[in-house]
Symmetry: C2
């Protein structure tokens, strides 16, 4: 394996993203703090351009490619948010993008990806291999594969959100005891861990996953890469990667604390709280770390904790279902 | 009349609010820009502490009072957002607050105001005079009345959002052709107009109102303060003030361009777009300026325009109704 990315790589990514990505706000709510008996911040990456943090990694990847490679285009596969981030990064940099998306991805995510000018290839999440389809396109066209998480350029791009969290908390007079982020393949959680450990070594960093798709939590316990039994079946459509990446797991082992696992109902409750108290729209997969904080699985009492709400690309029906959790 | 507040007063208010209020983000969306053929920014004040811009004016008012007056407490009346802002400002500064609220205000706004520790007095919006009730309490207790809009300390506090809009747009390389904000009594629209005219004199500033409650738009046309025929009947519960304030109208006459008037259906559509594209929760009254931009009443084509989404304190049922506008 080549050497793992470092804190300096996250700082370099932040320079590439300056003026491109939003410094999303770090939100706080007096009522929620009182309820939890501590201080909870939300890093609202659902407000990021394209509706999720994914633009950070995708843009950093494309901006790091050679000019010659960029001319041959890029190809990626994604349940939706990486697709939108990659398509928009390609549009901003004038690069042709082809995106392989699951046929059961939320209609909104497919439509939005197409709107950025990318070509869409749909596949069956259970029967087909998205990797095989994507690699086939790359071989035929010379396009560069932009992986959703398991690459230094991707995860250091995502990690720029971690730099902002520490700086924004500091401006509010806060020192963070813990930070948590949603996790599918581990790009966001390990990227922000690199950033946070670089600026604030005593802060623990945790990855949140949906119950039944807690491959990283189990891998951190066993010390080797574990796989999920199922490929579908959680409301968190963005968090269904079957196993941690090689690069992300190597980082996770040294940087992350114990994993946080939440149920679909806890996720829906967190979406409702995000609506009612923080006035943000969070998709199910984007709400797992918040759900961990609200349920006490990530303790907030007597502490200062930040969670990333990583995306807001949710269908109307699912959002209405979350609101119905509280009449 | 005493002299009208100036740009320098808004700058002084910004110094008082530093570290207290959130610099809410200025959001932009590539798809919405493409649809409108211009550049549209949303100043997301729904993300402000207490869920609306109202904390700005209330905190600035209380911070400007004498220590002796603060010890005697404050009293205010409000359909909800000023109530929450005032109650929270009072909590932050350790001042006793009594709030007179309409009995038909959204349950959420009443509950949240109470949660900040304020005492609540309910009144009938049609039969009672909230002014009379509030003044009675002030007379009995020596508390200072904190008016919802018609006071220099209030409107210059609200105006700090305008300073941020111009600075944030500049950081994105944009010069604003027009800015619009929701208007009830005119505190927000005239406050940001003071700020924006001070930093960018060529930018036009407009107040948005719901159809049937367009007292300011008609007052700007006739040159004298006009009154609304009705006191209830719009989905925009935050924008039902019967007539412009004296201070706010004096400022509006010299600072504001023509008023923008939108229907309840246009407001619901704007709330749905804010959900789908910007991932923010906007209440009906908070969405009127956005509605004006999306419908072309405030032209965006070939221009750069910012609108304030001023609050996010919306009941679940009303939000679901907005989402239902687009299946």
């Amino acid at each position: 394996m080549t050497s793992l990315p470092t804190f300096a790589d996250v700082q370099a990514a932040a320079r590439r993203l300056e003026g491109v990505t939003l410094h999303s706000p770090l939100l706080e709510n007096a009522r929620v703090n009182a309820m939890l008996g501590g201080r909870l911040f939300i890093k609202a990456e659902c407000l990021q351009r394209t509706g999720s943090f994914k633009l950070r990694g995708a843009y950093n990847f494309l901006a790091s490619m050679s000019e010659a490679d960029r001319r041959k285009g890029v190809v990626g596969w994604s349940s939706g948010n990486h697709a939108q981030g990659l398509a928009e990064a390609a549009r901003l940099l004038g690069v042709k993008a082809t995106i392989v998306m699951p046929a059961d991805a939320p209609a909104l995510k497919v439509a939005n990806t197409r709107a950025s000018g990318a070509e869409i290839v749909l596949y069956d999440r259970v029967k087909d291999s998205r990797e095989a389809i994507g690699l086939g396109i790359a071989q035929k066209t010379g396009a560069t594969v932009v992986p959703p998480y398991d690459h230094a350029w991707i995860l250091t791009g995502q990690g720029t959100a971690g730099l902002e969290i520490v700086e924004q908390a500091k401006a509010l007079g806060a020192t963070l005891d813990a930070v948590a982020a949603p996790c599918s393949g581990g790009g966001l959680s390990t990227g922000i861990a690199l950033a946070i450990k670089g600026l604030s070594p005593a802060t623990s960093v945790h990855a949140g996953e949906p119950a039944g798709f807690d491959d990283l939590a189990r891998s951190l316990k066993s010390g080797k890469k574990e796989k999920n039994d199922k490929l579908t079946g959680s409301i968190c459509d963005a968090l269904l990667a079957p196993t941690p990446g090689d690069v992300t797991f190597a980082l996770a082992r040294t940087l992350l604390g114990p994993g946080l696992v939440v149920t679909d109902d806890e996720v829906l409750d967190a979406m409702e709280t995000a609506f009612r108290e923080f006035k943000i729209v969070v998709e199910p997969g984007g709400a797992v770390a918040l759900a961990a904080a609200l349920t006490g699985k990530l303790p907030v009492r007597g502490r200062t904790v930040a969670v990333v709400c990583s995306g807001g690309n949710v269908d109307h029906a699912t959002f209405v279902r979350a609101l119905a959790r509280r009449a």
